[in-house]
Amino acid sequence: MTDVQAPRSGGLGAHSPEVAAAKARRWGAFYYAEQVLRVMKNYAWSMLMYSVGQPVAYLFAMGVGLATLVDSQDAAAFGGVSYLTFIAPALLVSAAVMTAANEFTFPVMAGFKWRRTYFGPHASPLTPSQIAAGHIMAVTLRLLLQSAIYFAAVAMFGATPHGGAWLGILAATLAGLSFGLPLMAYSASITEDKGQFALVMRLIVMPLFLFSGTFFPLDTLPLALRWIGWISPIWHGTELGRVAGYGYGEPPLLTMVHVAVLAGLAIVGWILTRRRFEKRMGQ
């Protein structure tokens, strides 16, 4: 191997530090999103399997197995639609929330502590809030893609009678962010891993999944438990998905409340996340 000279200087031409800084100020979040997506690409296959495999498993178990039993009972209990149609939006939203719960916990810890991957870009012109935003953008894209695949699988089972059912993809993505962004702020505040994330999954995500009107309408629950649904992004997202999916009748005001709650949680989560990132990286 021939020895080489140290890298030459001055070959950058139009890409001076000034240009780099200006571009980074404008597009920095996208640059970081590109990095997260490149890493995700390594897991593309397992992500695809998860996106397709999980709905198919659930749909067979619940939609085909359980549904035969449920549908032979009182159809009015589920708003006059088949059980499969009833749970399809809920499964879509739950899957998005669970993916968000994963993407906004362990990778954040890896970024700050385990692999310190946030600190590489932080030494470049990117800012902490752009790094946070890029992470979020990449996960949002993943949620959209996963929900679209999930939706297609559900549609093949004939569980989406309504023309606007695809809007459930957006509802699921929004629900994922409204749960995921406050969680991301929490993840960014953890300096030592004491199994907090496992607790989040078991003590928050699972109860929300079970008590958010997922498998039965929320109002069949006693009042003492119904509040879980009211504070749950899964319930708000699911109700939106049902309105879009089969024209579930609820007052338009309530639909707006769902959107407002989901958007509100996501915005508060983003503000807290950004603050956390700026503080922790600026130390």
């Binding site: 890298p7 200087s9 780099a20 590489g120 012109p125």
Partner: protein, 320 residues
Amino acid sequence: MMPAGTRSGRLPHAGTVIAAENLTKTYGDVAAVDGISFSVSAGESFGLLGPNGAGKSTTMKMIGGVTGRTSGKLSIMGLDPDSHGPEVRAHLGVVPQQDNLDEELRVRDNLLIYGRYFGLPMSYLGPKADELLEFAQLTDKAKSKVDALSGGMKRRLTIARSLINEPRILLLDEPTTGLDPQARHILWDRLFRLKEQGVTLILTTHYMDEAEQLCDRLIVVDKGRIMAEGSPARLIRDHSTREVVELRFGSERNTTIAAQLDGIGERLEVLPDRVLIYAHDGEGALEQVASRGLRPLTSLVRRSSLEDVFLRLTGRSLVD
């Protein structure tokens, strides 16, 4: 609006790339960096030498525009990093103390994605990445996962990554800590080539040999303050004698025997494991020791180093 450079108070003279004045950083009540001032000229190799916890890394983070200062003035290329963080960082290449490579990406992709953070187009990054892999002697590892690299290779990849934007200033925080001697020498050779190319090097180290090899000028830092400043040779001349005699009498006896060495050489330093005699003529001092009937277990005459300078200035060793 005034140009950024004039805001730093005193106008750095032409060619000054970094100017710090009373730079201070406190965490709670603790002053990690306690009012230090220095300036660095373009093309210079400037070192911060000091033990762990001296405030070297904190200073580097402030220069690197990732940590704000508590007080004082700081300008990099005439820019204040607190208000122009992205602009300052666009000028720099940074090799952090701990590698933070993307372990899940391949070696070459690490360079490409890092270049993207500077908004650099792929048409530039492709050939540049290959050139840097060659420079870092990692060409045959281009497609490997970072996980599979040795410590020295990861370090070289980190240096290659820091050069992707062709920075004129390179910040190196403890570049060779934790590497074996061979890997260190390869790294020093690469850094020396960059220096020859006119890249300004700012490096922290607690290895005196590294400081002597690479630095034109350095500051000795302890507890957040500058203890001395100058070229390695100058510091040794000013703060130590030409030669040093190292004597070991066994850990129990060093202190008691030291009393009998009084008057030999210019100065005596008693450490737990050895006694140091500072003298212009080491061999002569050693003969005097023998003439007093003292028989050390081992003896060694060597030239003074920055380690001795540090010991003199702080009363402590560099590496605890």
